[in-house]
């Protein structure tokens, strides 16, 4: 069909549409659902919301939030996070840690049945699942990050061993995992999908296609996955933890559309609120205001510097650039309080978060002084900021930052917009002066931010930042058994990092959404944790 651009007053349109609608022969009749009944076309007990199409439902392979959100409801592992982000038993009923902190013995719950009702889960299933994730042929890009601490994992991965020696099946319901050093955050890593249990017979029978109808052990099971259209979950009748799911069905609409409009029209029960609607939803006179909720997410968005090369190897220049940015204005004016301004690296809600951290303040005058000491604005000539942008533009945040630098320091930073894949490749190779990116927690431990992103030996240390003092603190924290001392080590490291400024932390995001009043127990979560079994509908 030909659709041409142009504009035309709307009033005329509305009247004419009525005629056209009648001509279509399907003018619907107005209907309001009676109180207490589900809306037309819906099953009772069905929760409807928007979702994104997962890349895969294979827990070993998934790397992104969209896939993980479904996987944590369909599958489960030894341990999990509860909604308050504490590590709690899942299939492992309890566990013991050896005195040297290196051996974990998990005692599995008896009677955990796969969702197809076929058989019980045993320790051998875990050994199989973890080894499968680590097997290079499975193609998991995250397995080593999560399971690489296990003794023998790297040898197995490299093909030098035919099993992971650190994973031992003691008996049907006892599993022993040995790690290379007493890392207390190891348990947190086991909450991630890559450590979930899969059913060997199913995977081996159909290695490529099994994820279209996966068999798991999670609170829900997949009823229907129509690519690009919808995912429907239904309760897993064999689920073993209380509370069991109360919803009869959860339908995720994957095709996109207009979430808030659909929400107002009663077609979905939960909808995200974006920048365009936030003003309206915040207005106390708007009916949506009472249904609005915000939850801090465990994420930090930042500008990173290439500290390996001049002029950004000079901390004074990095500090000057950091102190020329008004983060409060970014958060409240540009992003309308959809985010919180960031002072440090760790987001609020993360253990070890330090509310007394001495950040670099917004101080244009001192910023100019620092820059002058370091050789003046001319040293920054020709620098480029890499970004993958927002919908084909650099986005409001980058525009604002560049304007602040120009206004407060008189320097002009060029912006180079790349698609996400190319962007990551360039950042991997160190082909950048500055870049903007965000980091979202994989598991709840400060190691996941500070060690992974700032230790000089980490694969994910994109800026090239290397400070022996920081390395020492981070290495100490890895194996420190006293949690209080451990957090204090991370706080010391964070303080030094913030002063050295390989990053300008910009903001922490918040999940902003509206929920219908009859949906009970739906709380946003700071990152992906299973939570749908707590939701009930009370119409």
């Amino acid at each position: 069909m030909v659709i041409r651009p142009g504009t035309r007053p709307l009033v005329l349109l509305a009247a004419l549409l009525l005629a056209a609608l009648a001509a279509c022969g399907r003018g619907g009749s107005p209907e309001t659902p009676p109180a207490g009944a589900p809306p037309p076309g819906r099953q009772s007990g069905e929760l409807r919301l928007f979702g994104a199409d997962p890349v895969t439902l294979d827990p070993a392979v998934a790397t992104e939030v969209a896939s993980a959100g479904y996987i944590v409801e369909i599958f489960s592992g030894l341990v999990t996070f509860d909604r308050d982000l504490r590590i709690v038993p899942d299939i492992a009923e309890r566990w013991e840690v050896s005195p040297d902190g290196r051996t974990y013995t998990f005692y599995l719950r008896r009677g955990v049945i796969f969702s197809d009702g076929s058989r019980q889960v045993t320790a051998r299933d875990f050994k199989y699942s973890l080894e499968r994730a680590l097997d290079r042929r499975t193609g998991s890009t995250v397995a080593l990050s999560y399971l690489g601490d296990i003794v023998g994992a790297r040898e197995f991965r490299g093909g030098r061993a035919n099993e992971v020696t650190g994973i031992q099946v003691v008996d049907d319901f006892t599993l022993r995992i040995t790690i290379d050093a007493p890392k207390s955050y190891f348990l947190a890593k086991l909450t991630y999908p890559v450590a979930f249990v899969v059913k060997r017979e199913q995977v081996e029978a159909n290695p490529r296609g099994w994820t279209r109808q996966p068999i798991g052990t999670g609170p829900f099971r997949l009823r229907e996955w129509r690519l690009g259209e919808r995912i429907v979950l239904e309760p897993n009748p064999h689920y073993y933890l209380e509370p069991r799911p109360s919803l009869s069905r959860v339908t995720f609409l994957l095709a996109g559309g207009s979430p808030l409009t659909s929400y107002e029209n009663g077609e979905v029960d939960i909808a995200p609120v974006g920048l365009n609607d936030i003003e309206r939803v915040r207005d106390p006179r708007d009916p949506l205001n009472r249904e609005f909720q915000q939850v801090d997410e465990l994420s930090t968005f930042y500008v990173g510097f290439n500290v390996r090369k001049a002029p950004l190897d000079d901390p004074r220049i990095r500090q000057a650039l950091a102190m020329a940015i008004d983060k409060q204005a970014l958060a409240s004016v540009v992003l309308r309080d959809l985010v919180r301004p960031a002072n440090g690296i760790l987001p609020p809600g993360m253990p070890g978060y330090n509310s007394n951290l001495q950040g670099l303040p917004f101080d244009p005058q001192q910023a100019r002084q620092l820059l002058d000491q370091a050789g003046g604005p001319s040293r920054l000539a020709g620098l480029t900021l890499l970004t993958s942008g927002v919908g084909g533009t650099p986005g409001p945040i980058i525009d604002a930052i560049v304007a602040m630098w120009e206004q407060n320091l008189g320097v002009r930073i060029e912006v180079r917009l790349l698609d996400f894949g190319t962007f990551l490749t360039e950042v991997d190779r160190g082909n950048f002066d500055l870049f903007s990116l965000g980091w979202i927690a994989d598991y709840v431990d400060p190691e996941n931010f500070l060690d992974i992103l700032f230790h000089s030996g980490s694969e994910n240390n994109h800026t090239g930042y290397a400070n022996p003092e920081v390395d020492r603190l981070l290495e100490q924290a890895r194996v420190e058994q006293d949690q209080g001392r451990r957090m204090s080590l991370y706080q010391q490291a964070e303080q030094i990092i913030v002063r050295d400024a390989p990053w300008i932390p910009l903001y922490h995001s918040r999940d902003s959404f509206v929920v219908k009043p009859y949906v009970r127990g739906y709380t946003g979560t700071p990152f992906v944790v299973p939570h749908l079994r707590y939701v009930t509908l009370q119409r």
Partner: protein, 329 residues
């Protein structure tokens, strides 16, 4: 007019089609491979594991020479294998595209029928009322619809029919099963807004063409003769005028068919319709190489076929086209 000249003409046109598709596929393949972006890197996200990334690239043959990759892909296509998706990790592209093709095809077909079913009477009516205010009013109105971009039309339709009148859902796709195997999304109320957004702007083109053709035919001698014989005006219009005026309109239909397979990116994205258009956006963002290729080939093939149909129709209607082609050959 003999039919002898028609078949060689069709044959010549058919020979061009594979060449065109070959060039289209080669260019699209090269743009993907040499353009920026890397599907494996997009998939891996921020966790870096160079070894596995290399393994995946090797397994998918991305480390090989361009022509080897192209040759292998096209050999697969000729055997009915459209490749493997990155966006939907490991799934065959055909499995990803098939349900979406069906979705896009359904609602576009209905829209196509509506455009012609409403556009033709509107054009005839306008032509018959030439000289009165009715003619410019109807055509002006339809042009106004055609002038509204879909990005404006859709939100207005949603606002009026869903939020204010509460007659319709704001979008979405609710298929119903018929006879146990046929899944139709065009039976639900969800489809009304997309159909309006697709049909209204399309009416002007058909109506104007029909109007112009009817006016031309109305001036012909045989119409005057028919009227002079005292035939009823309705009979004159349906038997004599329409039959002659509608032939060129049939060719317009050929191109409208392309829409059946290509879908509309904006419409599907705004309204949450899981068709080919919304997948195109996803596929490009994820650098879903094989998926993009499949879309290009499908749309390309649809276009080539539509062109062929139009050319053949023209040749059939108007022998001069065929003769001209022969003279140049």
């Amino acid at each position: 007019m003999t039919r002898a000249g028609l078949w060689p003409y069709i044959l010549r046109r058919l020979l061009w089609a594979p060449l065109v598709l070959f060039l289209v596929s080669l260019i699209a393949f090269a743009l993907g491979r040499f353009g920026p972006g890397d599907p494996v890197r997009v998939l891996a996200g921020q966790h870096r594991d160079p070894e596995v990334i290399e393994e995946i690239r090797r397994e998918r043959g991305l480390d090989e020479n361009f022509f080897v990759q192209y040759g292998r892909y096209m050999a697969g296509v000729l055997h009915g294998d459209l490749g493997t998706s990155f966006r939907y990790q490991g799934l065959p592209v055909w499995e990803v595209i098939k349900p979406r093709l069906w979705v896009t095809f359904q609602y576009n077909l209905v829209a196509l029928v509506l455009v012609f079913a409403l556009g033709i009477p509107a054009g005839v009516w306008a032509a018959l009322h030439q000289g009165s205010w009715r003619d410019p009013f109807v055509i002006g109105l339809l042009l106004a619809f055609a002038a509204i971009p879909v990005l404006v039309m859709v939100p207005v339709l949603q606002f009026v029919f869903a939020l204010k009148l509460r007659w319709l859902p704001v979008g979405g796709w609710e298929p119903r099963e018929l006879f146990g195997f046929l899944e139709l999304g065009i039976l639900s109320k969800n489809i009304v807004i997309p159909l309006l957004a697709l049909t209204l702007p399309g009416l002007a083109g058909v109506a104007r063409l029909v109007r112009a053709q009817v006016l031309e035919v109305l001036g012909e001698d045989y119409v005057r003769t028919a009227r002079a014989k005292g035939l009823d005006e309705f009979v004159v219009v349906t038997r004599h005028v329409l039959r002659n005026a509608l032939l060129p309109v049939a060719t317009l239909m050929g191109f409208a068919l392309v829409g059946l397979l290509s879908g509309s990116i904006f419409l599907e994205t705004l309204l949450g319709i899981p068709g080919i258009g919304s997948y195109a956006v996803e596929a490009v963002n994820a650098r879903d190489y094989d998926g993009i290729m499949a879309l290009v080939l499908l749309t390309g093939a649809a276009f080539v076929v539509a062109n062929l149909v139009v050319d053949v129709l023209y040749a059939f209607i108007d022998p001069r086209v065929r003769l001209g082609a022969e003279a140049h050959a």
